[in-house]
Symmetry: C2
Subunit: 236 residues, 2 copies
Amino acid sequence: MTNRFHCPRQDCRSDRCPAKKIYSCLSPGQDAALGRERLARRYQAGQVFIHHDTPALAIFSVHSGQVKLTRSASIGQEVVVGVRGPGELLGVREVLSALPYQVSAETLEPSILCAVPREAFLDAVRDCPELAMRLLGRISKDYLLAEEQLVARAHLSVRARTARLLLALLEYKRVTTGARAVREVSMGREEMALLVGTTRETLSRSLGQFAARGAVELKSGKIRILDSSVLEGLAD
Amino acid sequence: MTNRFHCPRQDCRSDRCPAKKIYSCLSPGQDAALGRERLARRYQAGQVFIHHDTPALAIFSVHSGQVKLTRSASIGQEVVVGVRGPGELLGVREVLSALPYQVSAETLEPSILCAVPREAFLDAVRDCPELAMRLLGRISKDYLLAEEQLVARAHLSVRARTARLLLALLEYKRVTTGARAVREVSMGREEMALLVGTTRETLSRSLGQFAARGAVELKSGKIRILDSSVLEGLAD
DNA sequence: CGTTTCGTTGAAGAATATCAAAATGCGTGG
DNA sequence: CCACGCATTTTGATATTCTTCAACGAAACG
């Protein structure tokens, strides 16, 4: 099974790996034990590396790149339930609850992922109470956030969800780029639609409405936010 | 603050408390420390004992009864995100992620709840790695389950969700009553609608359709399931 | 320069919410 | 037992939102 994970064989001890932060509480011995098992691999965009309903053999952490998590709502209907970036963990929930993978994961861009085999991860958690505490905090927070997201998707209009997405993208860009005033986001309609949980067409119409109200300006793929307070008003 | 929790003052050391199971790994000393702080209280039906956006000062565990968890999707729109019964914990996610309560909780029936102050709980988790592991497993599983629920709510038709609810109620009744063949469930339309995430009227129509297809029979408040395979077919 | 992908727009149809009203059930007091 | 009143459930009509199918222009790319 390990074969799938170490094509460009290289264990992930780089201290620049953002996922490493959560493991920083391990003793040198524990860290070494984990590091020995920890294998980084480069993935192209669009690769599916976690298949739902498959035994959860490993935890993945995102070193660089972005991945999307999907669930099948009914047969043939893939639904995005989240997007994860550098430093985030995938498959933790399944490993900790001894369930097969409940989601599928696919890279959105060329990415580097580290895989830690199930048992090694569990050993580390058992041996290091501090790691357990950190995971508890992280999973709890993720859970609450996801719940909020999904409730919004089930009970808010597409317009409201679209407005929220724009604001979230703005915020995300601000945080990641460090710029103080971000006024533009750029994302394909297809992808936005997936995140909002609707179709290209409906999403396009929502954006059209925003533009009509002067909240945004659509020019050549970019979306320039003119008045974010209008968006906040539409967000519920 | 503790005042709210010990009206009929009585600490919860009863070994019959189903929530106690998860604490069974604590050493006598740890258990005593927690037990001293653990206060049981009787609530009538319909009492709100966790108010969203309020500091998460305590973990509650359900000793007996049922409670519903709600979130406000938009202003004035309360949405049920889950129902918890005996042995289950409330507020863990918030305490562990150091956030205010993100949900509100209300008793559906007369219930007995135990409250453990935030700090006592955190101390117990820190002192007992096994407890941490159990919580990790439990939260992970809850998370996965809730995700599935909410994705269904966002992307399945009311008919499908209603069918699922009926099947779930059947299953639940089977498990809790221990009866081998359950064919009837009984629940107000309002409450069913809340669980499904729709209105009374639409829910009623769904049931009407089921009845028309001969899958169920509606008589005087009870719902008798005639053909659960039909429901399973409708469930996606 | 044609082809392909992406974005927008239109029109029709399905699903659901909403408002309104009728029917049903249920307990209470006569 | 019956009649009344209240609450719940069902049904009907309409409006809204969203999806779907279809067409079209525009940018992207060979």
